[in-house]
């Protein structure tokens, strides 16, 4: 067993709307990542994936507020820290974050090398220009990016190259946890593959110790991550290894998600795409019972009554459903 890099225990964060209502977008999430492992988070738009990513950094700004729970990075609790402290001590060298539109995040008037200088100097003010340049050149070479990129401006690079540059910049300090929020969804397939290859490369070379990969593209998760969590309405509904999740989803919602995968393979045209009817619940006043119940084909009246607790299988796989594993497998068999 490797060292635990990130441990989150019953984290709850909320948005406060301008009418004073509390919206719990992250509602009691626990997770744990060991060194050298990666975790994927899947779910549809609005389920709280990106809010979870922001919350994990411990860096809250209105309208996002912290409610309860702990976040431990390599054993250190970061939940009580002041924003300034977090920015100096945690972001960059402990946790790095790649936002969704990362490739538009580069200031067009700065050269790539000066971003790297900024990142390194924020944590080590004494670093000399030459040291930084050598480190950057070495890192870019290993990651397969040309050295000439360092002297260019962001506008001179193509979208895919810009995205990979951003990833290289944000991981330059070898963070313990990398949170990648849809790093490839705005790119075309070839650039996407390059990004995926680069992330795997970073993991293998040990530049990042663990990774959280957030996306709604399930085939990608299968290739990048070891474990997958499916999120729905602020909660985790299933947590399993990547293989189990893709080939044998247990929760009805995960099953629906896996049924919406489109791949150019033999037989893909014959299987009908399954769409999940309805829309996710409004988190201003979430349903009392199972949050997925009103969209679930297998829902029973009892599902609506009480909050559903997490159940665990023998191999540690977690799911949140009123039905037992055996019952679920039976209803899937009958179809």
């Amino acid at each position: 067993m490797g060292k635990t890099m990130l441990e989150v225990d019953h984290l709850k964060t909320k948005y406060i709307t301008r009418f004073g209502e509390n919206v719990f977008a992250v509602d009691g999430i626990s997770l744990k990542i060991e060194e050298g492992k990666s975790l994927g988070i899947a779910g549809e738009s609005g389920c709280g994936k990106s809010t979870l990513a922001l919350s994990l950094m411990g860096y809250y700004f209105a309208p996002l507020h912290y409610q309860s729970g702990t976040i431990k990075v390599d054993g250190v609790n970061i939940t009580g820290m002041k924003p300034d402290e977090i920015r100096k001590k945690v972001l960059g060298n402990e946790i790095a974050y790649i936002p969704q539109a990362a490739m538009n995040a580069l200031n067009p008037t700065q050269k790539i090398i000066s971003f790297i200088e900024d990142v390194i100097r924020a944590h080590d003010p004494g670093a000399s220009k030459k040291e930084i340049y050598d480190l950057a050149r070495e890192r870019f070479e290993i990651l397969g990016l040309p050295e000439s990129v360092l002297k260019k401006h962001a506008v001179e690079l193509s979208g895919g190259m810009r995205q990979r540059t951003v990833i290289a910049i944000s991981t330059i300090l070898s963070p313990k946890v990398l949170i990648a929020d849809e790093p490839s969804s705005a790119l075309d397939v070839t650039s996407q593959k390059m990004v995926i290859k680069m992330l795997r490369n970073l993991m293998e070379k040990g530049f990042i110790k663990s990774m959280i990969f957030i996306t709604h593209e399930l085939p990608l998760l299968y290739y990048v991550t070891d474990e997958i969590m499916v999120m729905y309405a602020g909660q985790i509904v299933e947590h399993a290894t990547a293989k189990e999740m893709v080939f044998d989803p247990l929760h009805p919602y995960s099953k629906g998600l896996m049924g919406s995968i489109l791949v150019p393979e033999k037989g893909a045209r014959d299987t009908k795409l399954t769409a999940i009817p309805g829309t996710p619940p409004n988190l201003k006043n979430p349903p009392k019972g199972c949050r997925f119940a009103d969209r679930c084909r297998y829902a029973k009246p009892a599902c609506m009554l009480h909050p559903i607790a997490e159940s665990r299988l023998e191999n540690g796989r977690m799911y949140r459903c009123y039905l037992e594993e055996k019952e679920l497998r039976e209803v899937y068999q009958d179809e």
Partner: protein, 275 residues
């Protein structure tokens, strides 16, 4: 190339020979679409697949008549397309409609939702229908896309979610009933789960109205699932075309092979070394 015109079949809804678009001139000349021939039959779902910068959006703009064709001819329902003058254009747009990638920028922000839908009825020549009849039509269109008309009236577009807007665009197409629907990356901004819903609706629309649907996309998995035939576009040219099974399961062109190889797969091995 454009001299030898191919005979146009009766069932063909939209076809073109030697269609070319050149931007700029002299040294700055860019050939965005380079002598492409195509034939889209009635009731067929066609996908045009290519990467960013391959010219798919330029081609779609030419098909819609938003930009002029530098060379070549486009035939609409067997006859050469006539776009001279505003009235001719308006007549043509009754036959071809489009839905775009970004639902947020597709609605007039000052129009309420019922005004948007009323405009569609007006365009179909229903301006003088009694109001009850119009409401009935709008309710039918909304229920076709699983929306409730009563909840939408008196709302402005910004009050809807992205998924609702995307579905409302399909409701608009349902009211207009064009012969051809051009869908330019309609699902690239929404997640996999809502994508399935939208695709189901488009398939239903095709089955009910025998509409030709042209999908412009870079998602080869999506193209394989939904289309009858696929055109693969590279640098402004069609490098391969044929039925979906032929193109995806037996690719001939190197570019097609690369595209298919670059998409993550589930049941087959995904080769990461070839980038």
């Amino acid at each position: 190339m454009s001299e030898e015109k191919k005979p146009v079949q009766n069932s063909s809804c939209l076809s073109g020979t030697g269609v070319t678009k050149i931007f700029g001139m002299g040294k700055e000349k860019t050939v965005a679409v380079d002598h492409v021939d195509f034939q889209f039959r009635e009731g067929e779902i066609v996908s045009i697949v290519g990467e960013s910068g391959s010219g798919k959006t330029t081609l779609s703009k030419m098909l819609l008549g938003l930009i002029s064709v530098t060379e070549g001819e486009i035939y609409f329902q067997g006859k050469p397309r006539d776009m001279k003058g505003y009235h001719k254009k308006k007549e043509y747009w009754k036959g071809i409609q489009a839905i775009f990638q970004d639902p947020f920028s597709s609605f007039n922000v000052f129009y309420k939702i019922d005004q948007v839908l009323l405009d569609c009825i007006k365009m179909r020549g229903g301006a003088r229908l009694p109001y009850e009849k119009k409401v009935e039509m709008m309710t039918e269109a909304c229920s076709f896309v699983n929306l409730k008309f009563e909840e939408l009236t008196n709302k402005y577009p910004f009050e809807l979610s992205g998924g609702q807007m995307q579905r409302l665009m399909i409701a608009r197409i349902f009211l207009l009933k064009p012969a051809i629907l051009l869908a330019d990356e309609p699902t690239s901004m929404i997640d996999a789960c809502s994508r399935a819903t939208i695709l189901d609706m488009l398939l239903k629309l095709r089955d009910e109205t025998n509409m030709t649907i042209i999908f412009i996309t870079h998602d080869i998995g999506l193209a394989f699932y939904i289309s009858d035939s696929i055109y693969i576009m590279e640098h402004g040219k069609f490098v391969e075309s044929g039925t979906a099974e032929d193109v995806i399961l037996n690719p001939k062109a190197a570019y097609t092979k690369r595209l298919i190889n670059d998409v993550p797969k589930i049941h087959e091995e995904w080769d990461l070394s070839t980038v």
